[in-house]
């Protein structure tokens, strides 16, 4: 074909694809990360003796995934673009030249494998050569990578997971250096928040627009369950320009694809105490020509959970780790009592690839996953659980809601409880017991259509469109909260072009657009405190520069037990109810205001929240992978990442949280690789990244319609007898109606002064890393990577203690505030050792040392004062050192023994001697005492007769242990979990029998947490920590392990046995 004709053809096709992309973007509600899901093989073929380049050499790469054919050009260069990840046999043939072949060319997503061949004239035998880059895909030594990353594939996944069909994604990720599992069990890459890392599966963004209700510290859509994953690649730090919104790192999961010949794999698994069943199935096939291939995977899991030693009651197991999910809730949902009881999951994955066109130069991929997870919560059982609105005392309110422990309810308290508090759906009275346990349903569905076209021998165009749907449904009657639907959708369209220019340059460019539509409908029947508390208290942050009221000015127990002038509480009463109130309180104000407008009993309206904003995310990049020579390579790229928040414009009702509507960042990336010899590679990387804020970080808007019943009632402040004047964003406007005043009270109670603070925007990170990898003669390899990362303008959540729960002794925090005042500084070293053997000993050892400082103190929530003071703490949930060892001994007789050891050096804990508070309007660092903290968590106690001042308290007693200066100064004991798998497969047979033992040492003790039952000043007075747990009530009692300032609970999952049978053909 003439060159001009070819060019025209190319241009036409390009124009058509661009048009298609534009149309897709226009009609789509959404689009994702720029990633083609394939790799590149390239090199140069020369004449063996003269070293002259050889043109027209036929180069064929073949594997079970497909066959790729190209020819060398006049300069002897060849490039294979769009190669599916697999390990290939590469062969070179040319007339009159002896054929050359090499095996073991492993292609990974986004990588470039370089293989040069030399051919000899008139040689009649096949030359089989060993590739210089013959390293396994998961080896620590990857000379062809231009970006620092880690890969775990096929057999390695089996080794670090102990077995195939192990769906535990966290176990897989923790085996990779740079990944640490924090105290709450959440994956962190180089210490960043889970929100700050990118996750993708087969090129689809697997994060949701809202935090996951299962673990609100992260937003991973697939419930951390693996299915159909062929390899995982982790790019910590800056990475390259082809990926956006990666924050502190990126996890790339690649799906398995169909291979020839067809195969299937079945897994049947069972465990007892706790009960566990699992069924897994894989079916992989391709036709002989490799044009059509398909992979199908199914995994069904039915698992009961056990915490602590077998048979141990849930109500003595305390809390598990720390979780900000408890923020603002009446009850800490992380208590084992409310932990998941079980998990039922059905997960389907299908990956179909059709290759077509001349020489199969085009392909179409259809990928989809459908996952449904159901969890019953209330591990402790729901039989005697009562609704948060009341119950438990036969017609009386719960003591957690009203009054002092052991104090009988007054008639007014009972009246308020029975008549005013909103009812949970299907709840008949406030004293009802929970009819069904708390539960969480998670639906995750994705599909992707990807089209690739080798426009010519040097250029690959990839067009991708996907959608991801997250829908969660959470019912928490015991907390008075239900959320449904929750999650949201992401829709992405992207265009990527990869073009080889000469033998030195590989240019990559692309565009991507994503539309994120969060869902977050949430009902809260407990926020009626907005109507029972003093309005002046509620609007305090709006009138005092965002500061929460100091401890002591706030009720320690929120409750509707009494009457506060100005609180709308008495407006809701009927005349008869007013009479009861009058008997208890000398009310001089007008009582029963609403009755004249809305005759009949009125309950407080429940709060209903809806997401504030949707979001557009866009990105564009240009990158050049330069191969200078066999030793030096580099990768230079620039990327633009940006977003637009689409916020409903209503000046009189702006979002509760103020967010920057538009942000963009140009991100340079530079990676340089130097291979001084065939066994060593040194790589240096720099990258700047943006962590795009989630739409949900703009919060949820309080839905005005919830108060529609009061729209025609004039506003009224019973303290003054006049219309209320605390409406509007500054709490200084006349309320237009009673509905308006209820709305603003609820909103101000919920968001405080957040709407007045600086607009939120995405954090940025600067990443540096340097690595050295070495391959030993036996194929084993090591890699050492020191790194440094600094985060700027990190979004931090803050909250102020506004009370405490009399049953648990835990602080109750005011509502969350967000700010960009956060900082993060992380320094560390990663280590990886790999050794793979088909028979014999294989091993993978990953270790991460990280020293990170940020704003968050451990064990409690970041207070606004700490953030304002710029105080940095050792990152609370990170263990400074984590080590993961997986090794397997595979014998020729069919036995496989596979221990996996996860070790950490302990987690930071400790209340710390000092804390940051607002003292007379100034953020200062002062000793933590019962003056500035909840008594039960204070490490120091002031002299009641001579308390000192807020900056200089007179400490008369302590809890008896030496607290370090700052929270997190103590390190818990090292922890190790050992899992062992033993398998037997008789050689030549398809059946495999195995047993997996989890937590071999039955180590169940958790990290110490502050013992809130130990409110005892031991230095002077009480000589030991044998104080009764004053808050203790059935359900919450935690006897046994509480005679210390810190409580350690045996609530980890115990020794467990799984037995399985697998068939593979």
């Amino acid at each position: 074909m003439p060159a001009t004709s070819s060019l025209c053809e190319t241009l036409k096709k390009t124009a058509a694809f661009v048009l298609a992309l534009i149309l897709a973007l226009c009609f789509a509600r959404h689009a994702g990360l720029a990633q083609t899901g394939t790799g590149v093989i390239r090199g140069t073929v020369t004449e063996a003796k003269t070293k002259a380049p050889l043109a027209d050499v036929r180069v064929v790469a073949s594997s079970g995934s497909g066959t790729y054919r190209v020819q060398t050009n006049a300069r002897g260069e060849y490039t294979m673009l769009g190669v599916l990840p697999d390990t290939y046999v590469l062969s070179f043939t040319r007339e009159n030249y002896g054929p050359v072949s090499t095996a073991g060319i492993t292609v990974l997503v986004g990588t470039v494998q370089v293989f040069d061949a030399a051919m000899t004239l008139n040689l009649r035998t096949i030359v089989s050569i060993r590739s210089k880059t013959h390293t396994s895909a998961g080896s620590a030594f990857q000379p062809n990578m231009t970006t620092d990353n880690y890969t775990v594939t096929g057999n390695q996944i089996t080794m670090v997971q102990g077995k195939q069909f192990n769906p535990d994604e966290n176990q897989l990720l923790r085996s990779i250096p740079s990944v640490t599992i924090d105290k709450s069990g959440t994956v962190s890459i180089r210490g960043g928040f889970a929100f700050e890392a990118g996750y993708e599966f087969e090129g689809i963004d697997y994060t949701t627009p809202t935090p996951n209700l299962q673990n609100t510290l992260q937003n991973i859509g697939n419930f951390n369950l693996l299915n159909g994953v062929g390899s995982v690649q982790l790019i910590p730090g800056g990475g390259d320009a082809t990926h956006g919104n990666t924050g502190t790192g990126l996890v790339i999961l690649t799906a398995k694809h169909g291979t020839y010949p067809a195969s299937y794999h079945l897994d049947l698994e069972a465990g007892y105490q706790p009960e566990h069943h699992q069924l897994g199935a894989e079916w992989s096939w391709a036709n002989k020509s490799g044009r059509l291939s398909n992979y199908f995977g199914y995994l069904g899991v039915n698992e009961q959970f056990q915490y602590g030693y077998r048979g141990m009651a849930a109500n003595v197991l305390g809390s598990r780790g720390t979780n900000a999910a408890s923020l603002g809730s009446l009850i800490d949902p992380n208590l084992v009592y409310y932990s998941p009881m079980n998990l039922h999951s059905n997960d389907f994955v299908d990956n179909l690839i059709y290759r077509f066109g001349r020489n199969n130069h085009e392909y179409l991929q259809l990928f989809g996953q459908s996952q449904a997870v159901n969890q019953t919560l209330d591990y402790g059982g729901s039989e005697n659980l009562f609704y948060s609105s009341g119950g438990g005392l036969q017609g009386q309110c719960s003591q957690s809601i009203v009054g002092i422990i052991d104090a009988p309810n007054t008639p007014a308290q009972d009246l308020a409880c029975q008549s005013l508090i909103p009812l949970y759906p299907a709840q008949k009275t406030t004293s009802s017991y929970v009819g069904q346990p708390d539960h969480l349903n998670n639906s995750w569905k994705t599909f992707k259509v990807q089209y690739g076209n080798n426009l010519n021998s040097n250029t690959l165009l990839t067009l991708k469109f996907y959608r991801a749907f997250a829908k969660q449904d959470q019912q928490l009657p015991a907390f008075g909260i239900f959320a449904s639907p929750y999650g949201g959708t992401r829709t992405n369209g992207s265009l990527d072009v990869t073009s080889a220019i000469g033998s030195k340059h590989l240019i990559k460019a692309g565009l991507t657009y994503t539309f994120s539509q969060p869902q977050g409908e949430r009902f809260d029947v407990t926020s009626y405190t907005a109507f029972t508390a003093d309005p002046a208290f509620i609007v305090y942050p709006l009138l005092h520069n965002g500061q929460a009221p100091p401890i002591g000015t706030t009720p320690p127990n929120f409750n509707p037990a009494g009457f506060i002038p100005g609180a709308p509480e008495i407006d809701f009463l009927t005349p008869q109810q007013c009479a009861v109130y009058q008997q208890q309180f000398a009310i001089s104000q007008k009582c029963g205001y609403l009755y004249s407008y809305l005759p009949g009993a009125q309950r407080f309206p429940a709060e209903r929240d809806l997401p504030t904003a949707s979001q557009q995310v866009y990105g564009a990049y240009l990158q050049d992978d330069v191969t200078f020579n066999s030793r030096w390579r580099s990768e230079i790229g620039i990327r633009l990442d940006g977003y637009n928040f689409i916020v409903p414009q209503d000046p009189s009702n702006p979002p509760g949280i103020n967010g920057l509507q538009h942000q963009r960042l140009y991100e340079p990336h530079l990676n340089i690789t130097y291979a001084p010899d065939a066994q060593d590679v040194i790589r240096a990387g720099y990258g700047r990244t943006l962590s795009i804020p989630l739409p949900s970080q703009l919060g949820a808007n309080v839905e005005r319609n919830s108060y529609a019943a009061f729209a025609n009632v004039p506003s009224f402040n019973n303290a003054t007898g006049l219309p209320a004047t605390y409406c509007g964003v500054r709490a200084n406007q006349l309320c237009t109606s009673y509905a308006d005043q209820l709305y603003w009270l609820t909103r101000d109670y919920h968001f405080g002064g957040q709407a007045l603070s600086a607009a939120l925007y995405g954090a940025t990170f600067t990443n540096y890393d340097l690595s050295w990898a070495h391959q030993f003669r036996d194929g084993a390899a090591i890699k050492v990577t020191p790194f440094y990362r600094q985060g700027y303008n990190v979004i931090e959540q803050t909250a102020q203690i506004v009370g405490f729960n009399t049953q648990t002794g835990l602080p109750i925090y005011g509502d969350q505030s967000y700010s960009n005042l956060g900082q993060q500084k992380a320094t560390g070293v990663e280590f990886l050792y790999t050794k793979e053997r088909a028979i014999g000993l294989s091993a993978q050892i990953g270790a991460t040392y990280i020293n990170q400082f940020g704003n968050e103190p451990p064990g409690t929530y970041l207070t606004p004062a700490a953030l304002a003071a710029g105080e940095l703490y050792r990152s609370p949930d990170l263990s400074p050192f984590q080590l993961n060892i997986a090794f397997q001994q595979q014998t020729r007789t069919g036995w496989r023994i596979n221990p996996v050891i996860a070790l950490n050096a302990g987690y930071p804990y400790g209340a710390g001697y000092y804390t940051a508070i607002y003292c007379n309007g100034h953020a200062v660092l002062v000793p933590t005492t019962d003056l500035n903290s909840i008594f039960s968590t204070a490490p120091n106690y002031v002299d009641p007769q001579n308390p000192g001042t807020c900056t200089n308290p007179n400490i008369a007693a302590g809890r008896g242990n030496k607290e370090p200066a700052l929270p997190g100064g103590l390190l818990s004991s090292p922890q190790a979990q050992i899992d062992v798998t033993v398998e037997y497969q008789h050689p030549g047979t398809p059946s495999l029998f195995g047993m997996q033992i989890k937590n071999l040492l039955n180590r169940v003790w958790n990290v110490p947490i502050q013992n809130t039952c130990y409110g005892v000043p031991v230095v002077t007075g009480v000589s030991s920590g044998t104080s009764p747990c004053t808050f203790s009530q059935p359900q919450y009692g935690n006897s046994g392990w509480t005679g210390y300032p810190y409580a350690v609970y045996p609530n980890q999952q115990p020794l467990t046995f799984y037995f399985y049978y697998q068939v593979r053909r």
Binding site: N557, C919, D943, P944, N946, F1031
Partner: protein, 381 residues
């Protein structure tokens, strides 16, 4: 370089060695200080001259003063159980306001010291918080034991008794400015109204003889006191029943700027006197001064024995929104004025200035006598 074949077993061995453990192994070291060994207890008694009915009625009772301090001068214990043993010739009278278990005995226990009338703070909705029990602290008895902290969630700060005990509900003596350090807004917000004056007078006739104070330190809040409970004791003698003269009710004259002049007549025999001005919270209003007076405030003026007037400065109130101190008494606010005179260095021994472990709490005679006036009130112009 050869294969690193030994890496795997070596690291595995290290890992396994770090396994296991028990609860105790995970706990930080706890050390406790013996309250008996490290603290010093002092106790003094005297005669209390108590004026009421505008000075028309004079009652004589028992005055008690104690200090229980650490070496740094702060209170020696935040939870203890005090018992005063009176001379055998004395018996505690009954009083319907109290749990009457002490009536008819010669012991004053927490039954009497847990006075119900001190105005404990509420939780903001009118419901009283859990009461701390009474203990012996750095300067005088008070209902400050830490056992209410776990329930209420915050520190049980000092609240003065409504004196005299076993009498009709009386007056609360808080040390405030200008004689004492100003109370910072954050402390005021936590219901700390002022410093202890150290004395606790009891409306019962005192007899000559030996008085003993035992302060027991139970190991936990729920443990009752028995003979094994660590205890500190102090004994003192009442050698004279000669009282101080009655203290006439002070007279306050407003200067119209927030302060005023107080006319007093310090009783004979007293070596020092304190005048107390209690300013009651007015109804909320937009007035910056009233807004700054969100809690009841106490002001104290130290008066020399030979003085006939005391001056209450104009601007001792809590800071207003502009940061300036509010007037001592806002226009329209109610106030009460009363006084106490001592024949021992009551003011010098008080917090926050005195951080001696054993401050002087008695006169040269060994007694600690007090004379208290009745209260005069009014509304500030």
């Amino acid at each position: 370089m050869t294969s690193a074949r030994y890496i795997v077993p070596a690291i595995a061995a290290i890992a396994i060695a770090g396994c296991g453990g028990s609860n105790a192994a995970y706990q930080p070291t706890v050390s406790a200080v013996s309250p008996v060994g490290s603290n010093k207890l002092q106790f003094a008694v005297g005669i209390a001259t108590i004026a009421s009915n505008g000075g028309g009625t004079i009652t004589y009772g028992l005055n008690t003063v104690e200090t229980l301090r650490q070496k740094n001068g702060l209170s020696g214990s935040l939870f203890n159980v005090p018992i005063i043993t009176l001379p055998t010739t004395m018996t505690v009278p009954g009083n319907p306001l109290y749990i009457d278990n002490d009536a008819g005995t010669n012991r004053i226990t927490q039954n009497t010291l847990n006075e119900p009338n001190i105005g404990l703070p509420t939780n903001g909705t009118g419901v009283p918080l859990a009461n701390p029990t009474a203990g012996a602290f750095g300067y005088g008895f008070c209902e400050c034991n830490s056992n209410s902290g776990p329930i209420n969630g915050f520190a049980p700060l000092f609240i003065a008794y409504a004196l005299p005990l076993i009498g009709q509900p009386g007056l609360q003596y808080f040390g405030g400015p200008p004689a004492f350090a100003p109370i910072s807004p954050d402390l005021a917000a936590q219901n700390f109204s002022g410093y202890s004056i150290g004395f606790t007078d009891i409306a019962m006739p005192a007899a000559l003889g030996s008085y003993r104070l035992d302060v027991a330190f139970p190991p936990s809040y729920g443990t009752s006191v028995n003979s094994d409970t660590p205890t500190l004791s102090a004994t003192t003698q009442l050698v004279s029943t000669q009282p101080l003269a009655a203290f006439a009710t002070p007279a306050f004259t407003a200067d119209g700027n927030g302060g005023g002049t107080i006319g007093i007549a310090v009783p004979a025999g007293a070596t020092e006197a304190l005048v107390f001005v209690k300013v009651l919270t007015a109804a909320p209003s937009q007035d910056p001064c009233t807004a700054a007076h969100s809690t009841t405030q106490y002001f104290t003026v130290n008066v020399a024995p030979n003085s006939t007037t005391a001056t209450l400065p104009d601007s001792l109130g809590q800071p207003m929104s502009d940061g300036k101190a509010a007037r001592t008494i806002c226009s329209g606010e109610s106030y009460e004025v009363y006084a106490a005179a001592f024949d021992y260095p009551a003011f010098e021994a008080s917090y926050p200035a005195n951080l001696q472990q054993t401050p002087v709490i008695s006169a040269a005679s060994g007694q600690a006598d007090v004379s208290t006036s009745d209260v005069a009130g009014g509304q500030y112009p």
